[in-house]
């Protein structure tokens, strides 16, 4: 029987498609095994890099990723807090906060020292208008650094807002909603930190 005749058999179609599927899935399984560790490592590296961005250099010597505590906010949402320690002593914490921006949630990562002073803020995720709202990214401008050194009393609660609302933080020309969202997220982050400070540092690190 020639190949051409064989190809017309029903069983041949099944066998062919089955064989191809088998070969494809075996290959993928193999490659998955090879790359899985690499992918996990890359993702860890990502998180570590962003954590490092909101902390000054040499601020901590522990592996923040492993020194993590999960807390709940008043509204029930979970917040993962990474604690920074230097020589075993608690120095500060890093956590995510979000607020509704112009297009979608703006997610920021906030680093705070034990005194409640902001060490650094970075935007992790946003869908704000490119060229307008995206000036909150560090790559597009230094605005996000204006939070550094601020704390809940500095400026006062009334002035913790954008300039248009009588606050101290700049808004950008043409966009108020995005910076307002970031400011709100940061303010709530600080409030969260202050309210939960004991809980954050109560649990010992798992180093």
């Amino acid at each position: 029987m020639t190949l051409l005749e064989l190809r017309e058999k029903i069983g041949y179609h099944a066998l062919l498609l089955g064989a191809v599927a088998l070969a494809a899935s075996v290959t993928l399984a193999g490659v998955d095994g090879k790359t899985r560790s690499g992918i996990a490592a890359a993702e860890q590296r990502d998180l570590q890099q962003s954590l490092a961005q909101v902390l000054p250099e040499g601020f901590a010597d522990n592996d923040l990723l492993k020194d993590k505590v999960n807390l709940k906010r008043a509204d029930g949402s979970a917040v993962a807090v990474f604690r920074a320690r230097l020589k075993g002593e608690a120095k500060g914490a890093v956590f995510q906060m979000s607020a509704r921006g112009y297009a979608d949630e703006v997610v920021v990562l906030i680093g705070v020292d034990v005194g409640g002073r902001i060490l650094g803020v970075r935007v992790l995720k946003h869908k704000e208008t490119p060229g307008l709202g995206d000036k909150i990214e560090i790559a597009k401008g230094n605005w996000i650094r204006s939070f550094e050194g601020r704390s809940l009393g500095d400026p006062t609660a009334a002035r913790f807002g954008v300039k248009k609302d009588g606050g101290v933080f700049d808004q950008f020309a043409g966009a108020t909603i995005t910076p307002r969202a970031v400011v709100k997220a940061v303010r709530e982050g600080l409030q969260f930190f202050v309210a939960n400070q004991p809980a954050i540092f109560a649990v010992p690190g798992k180093e």
Binding site: I10, H13, L15, A21, L22, S25, D32
Partner: protein, 175 residues
């Protein structure tokens, strides 16, 4: 992982079987479209299209070997009907509408051989042996079969003159 591999393989095999069966069940034997197209054609089998008769032209049309404007006697009307039926491109301005034509007998040359009568697809020629033949205007399709057959060149195709009643306003030139 093994489960994923097995399920994908199984899925492939089953789909292969399914497709194989579907191939058997839905096998197309002949194309019913050809009959529908053939029904549109004049059916005079005049041969002007260059295909073996109207059914031959229908097969060619369905197989894409012929353009919608394949049939000169059908004119624009048939061309647009065919184009609509087969979703073919049609440029009406290119349809070889050389205008309707009709066969006519040059009475001083006709020898009354009766050969044209035999090839006329619509029995449009009257005549008997050794008698001058005549064309029935209403029945003649202008296919030209008789012209080829005539031994004395007494048969010619003449354009049907345009009359006031049949004149059509030209389409306005595009602005």
């Amino acid at each position: 992982m093994i489960a994923a591999i097995l399920s994908l393989t199984l899925l492939g095999t089953l789909l292969g079987f399914g497709l194989g069966f579907a191939d058997r069940i839905f096998k197309v034997e002949s194309n019913p479209l050809i009959d529908e197209v053939a029904a549109l054609m004049p059916g005079s089998n005049c041969g002007q299209c260059g295909f073996p008769g109207c059914s031959g032209a229908a097969v060619a049309l369905v197989e894409g070997r012929a353009a919608a404007a394949v049939c000169p006697p059908g004119g624009k009307a048939l061309a647009s009907a065919l184009a609509a039926k087969l979703s073919l491109e049609l440029d009406l301005s290119k349809v070889a509408d050389r205008g309707p034509q009709i066969a006519s007998v040059a009475e001083d040359i006709c020898i009354g051989c009766c050969r044209c009568i035999k090839v006329c697809p619509t029995d449009a020629i009257l005549g008997a042996a050794k008698q001058i033949h005549n064309v029935i205007r209403e029945a003649c399709t202008g296919c030209g079969n008789c012209v080829e057959r005539c031994p004395t060149e007494a048969m010619t195709l003449q354009p049907i003159p345009l009359t006031v009643q049949h004149w059509v306003w030209p389409k306005p030139a595009l602005a």
